[in-house]
């Protein structure tokens, strides 16, 4: 008996210690209903049936699955990806109870606590607390694959904005979903995107009608919750002519000993004069200091700037995941369309990141800007990989790329792999890259003013990343700044 108590105590201590090294690690115990383990046509049919999908979508999934069987895993990135057994995974889980809520007060207290631990931005907390006049942010929580709470739906609906989980949208707006699903990222685009198209669990659908400026920032928090559940989020944002939307995606994840695959797809379709700002703060569980556990984040994000003068701006702060493989891209097809990519990628311990963007200039007078800040610490590897491509018909293209790397310590790696392919003489393409370490002078100066070493490093790193951080909406920027500091703890000294 005593022995048993001692054992329990030790386990508790160990658990607490683990939590301490991953500040926002936690688990919640909502019951899950699993799809059968493994992947087959039956799994795909199970998922589709479970979600009550129409036949066309089932057929689309099956087409994706069959294509995936013939594809090869991606191997060109500068990443060491352990072999993934795609049959040793569950492809579907959802909370058993699916509350329908009139207001957030009725939300499961467990989920409410989860929100709090997630560190939902201050403005949002005010909204959640019912503070009068608080700036509104709509939250669509993708909680363990299935959307369980959507707020501010009414106000959005008054503006004509559709903001739904993708499963709901399939039922309510089948024509819209069918028209745009896979139109930006074709099923066969790559191995992971193809897998997603077969087994995507849930995600978000956004439609902003012509001429509408979305009255609030749209925000989604992702969680990975159930054991061994691959996450296959699918997001589709359609901005009709002259519309505007700012979309925030942030995530943190519970501790896991086993690797978890996360292969999301985000598609953005921008019509004439539409503008979409997509901001991400990514903090999936990175694994422990020795690199055990941690999420594999293999994401395909792409925007089609289809209409003239459309604009899509990607901003990302990537601090989490054991392995990140991610290239938010823009196809600049509409005349005068604009693509932007602002990125901070921070790796520590044994993390690996291979991230960047692709700007494909098809239309005349298209412009793109790329600003990438890579920070490597510990024994991590951090790669910027980017493509700027100008097709023969694209007149007067402008691109500017700035790509800076900062190394903390001599055990990490920092790499830059830019591809520039230009087929039109009127293009003006400029690319600059630098690599540096934190200067001793800067560090000493900050410490002489009273900052301890970690605070000084955090300060300097935030300065290094400032150009990108300032692109984020205010509340996100604050969170991202904290995150950079936290992610570097213990990396210097």
């Amino acid at each position: 008996m005593n022995q048993e108590i001692a054992l329990k105590n030790r386990e508790a201590h160990e658990a607490a210690e683990k939590l301490a090294t991953y500040e926002w690690g936690f688990t919640s115990d909502i019951e899950s209903e699993f799809a059968p383990k493994g992947l087959s046509e039956d799994t795909v049919r199970f998922i589709s049936a479970k979600k009550g999908e129409p036949e066309w979508l089932l057929q689309w999934r099956l087409k994706g699955y069959r294509a995936w069987l013939e594809m090869e895993e991606v191997d060109w990135a500068k990443l060491h990806i352990p072999a993934i057994d795609y049959q040793d995974s569950y492809y579907y889980a959802e909370p058993k109870k699916r509350p329908t809520l009139a207001s957030l007060d009725e939300l499961d207290p467990e989920i409410r606590r989860t929100y709090e631990k997630l560190g939902i931005p201050i403005e949002e907390q005010k909204v959640l607390a019912g503070v009068e006049g608080a700036r509104k942010v709509a939250v669509d929580a993708v909680f363990d694959s299935v959307s369980v709470a959507t707020t501010f739906r009414e106000e959005l609906e008054r503006a004509g904005v559709i903001f739904r989980s993708i499963s709901e949208a399939v039922k309510e707006y089948p024509d819209l979903v069918r028209k745009y699903l896979g139109s930006v990222v074709p099923q066969r685009d790559n191995f992971f995107a193809c897998l997603n198209s077969a087994v995507f669990s849930d995600g978000t659908f956004v439609y902003i009608p012509e001429g509408v400026r979305c009255p609030m920032e749209l925000s989604t928090y992702f969680r990975i919750n159930a054991e061994n559940t691959g996450q296959f989020e699918r997001t589709l944002i359609v901005a009709d002519k002259g519309s505007y939307v700012s979309y925030l995606e942030g995530c943190t994840a519970p501790m896991r000993d086993e690797n978890q695959l996360h292969a999301a797809v985000v598609e953005i379709f921008a019509h004439e004069d539409a503008e979409v700002k997509y901001s991400t703060v990514q903090n999936w569980y990175p694994g422990d200091a020795e690199g055990r556990g941690g999420i594999y984040n293999f994401v395909t994000k792409r925007a089609m700037c289809s209409g003239a003068r459309s604009k899509v701006s990607w901003t990302q702060v990537e601090t989490g995941s054991a392995i990140t493989w991610k290239y938010p891209s823009c196809i600049l097809k509409g005349e005068g369309s604009v693509g932007e990519f602002y990125s901070v990628a921070l790796t520590n311990n044994r993390q690996q990141a291979d991230t960047g963007t692709k700007m494909v200039h098809i239309g005349a007078n298209t412009r793109s800007t790329i600003v990438s800040k890579g920070i490597s610490a510990g024994r991590s590897d951090n790669t910027y990989r980017g493509l700027v491509k100008v097709l023969p018909g694209a007149e007067n293209v402008r691109n500017f790329t700035q790509c800076d790397s900062l190394l903390l310590g001599d055990q990490c790696g920092s790499h830059t792999v830019p591809y520039i392919e230009v087929k039109n003489p009127t293009a003006t393409i400029e690319h600059e890259a630098t690599t540096s370490k934190i200067s001793e002078d800067q560090l000493f100066y900050a410490m002489a003013r009273g900052l301890d070493q970690e605070a000084a490093v955090a300060l300097i790193v935030n300065g290094f990343a400032r150009e990108v951080l300032k692109q984020l909406p205010m509340e996100f920027a604050v969170e991202a700044q904290k995150l950079l500091g936290i992610s570097l703890e213990g990396s210097v000294g």
């Binding site: 100008v390 190394l407 310590g409 001599d410 790696g413 400029e430 890259a433 630098t434």
Partner: protein, 249 residues
């Protein structure tokens, strides 16, 4: 050549003209080697011999404190490739000054892997491409800094000028860095002749073709400033001028 024939999947061959390569593959000699002893210094000048397909593969090994300056002019009318693998030891210096000048259907490429294996090395790669017709000019350059190769200073400067619709410039200035106290930078730009410069030259009385040629000379000939041997420098200047004349015409 006994090595297996490359495919486009291989990074170093992604922009290559493999059909042209096939035509010479069997006769290709293996890689040349240049080995410089401790403290040795050398300049090396390569000018294409005018044959339609030219492939030069060179392995350079620089011992501590050794220094090499390579000047390469790539003007092969069909397919020209200069590929360098450079292994650098403590305090070694490597400089590449190279130009692709191509018109018609030429494919020209400069491919480098500069490996800083030990501390205090410096590398400078300067590549200029002038491309007309439907020519393709590429630079695939990698600077790799090994763990503990501290105080490495590596620079890549890549500029390409496209003269016609249909010409293509590719560049991939890659960095692979495993040491923290390094200075590695690269800059790349692609564009056409600067219209302000062109107008300035025209306003001084140069006709459009001469103005273009003059500006392009300014763009390319700087590469050869540091050639010590006057005869070699003149040869590079003359060959560059001739190549520019033929692509502008």
């Amino acid at each position: 050549m006994t090595a297996p024939f490359p495919t486009r999947k291989a990074e170093a061959w992604r922009y290559a003209d493999l059909d042209a390569l096939k035509s010479v593959w069997d006769e290709l000699p293996g890689a040349e080697t240049i080995t410089l002893a401790k403290g040795e210094a050398r300049q090396q000048v390569w000018i294409g011999d005018g044959s339609p397909v030219g492939v030069r593969t060179v392995q350079v090994e620089l011992a501590a404190g050794a220094s090499i300056d390579i000047f390469a002019l790539n003007t092969a009318p069909q397919y020209g490739r200069v590929e360098l693998d450079v292994a650098m030891h403590e305090g070694a210096h490597f400089a590449l000054h190279a130009a692709n000048i191509g018109g018609g259907k030429a494919t020209q490429e400069i491919v480098t892997a500069v490996r800083h294996l030990e501390p205090n090395g410096t590398s400078r790669q300067t590549v200029r491409s002038v491309l007309a017709g439907t020519a393709t000019g590429s630079y695939l350059g990698k600077v790799a800094v090994a763990r503990h190769a501290q105080k490495t200073d590596g620079e890549q400067s890549v500029k390409a000028m496209l003269l016609d619709r249909g010409a293509t410039a590719n560049c991939k200035p890659e960095l692979e860095i495993y040491a923290d106290d390094v200075k590695c930078a690269h800059g790349a730009s692609v564009g056409e002749l600067d219209p302000d410069q062109l107008f300035y030259a025209l306003s001084r009385g140069l006709d459009p073709a001469s103005a273009k040629a003059l500006l392009l000379e300014g763009f390319v000939l700087q590469l050869w400033d540091e050639v010590a041997d006057e005869a070699q420098r003149e040869a590079l200047i003359e060959a560059s001028r001739a190549a520019l004349r033929s692509v502008v015409a």
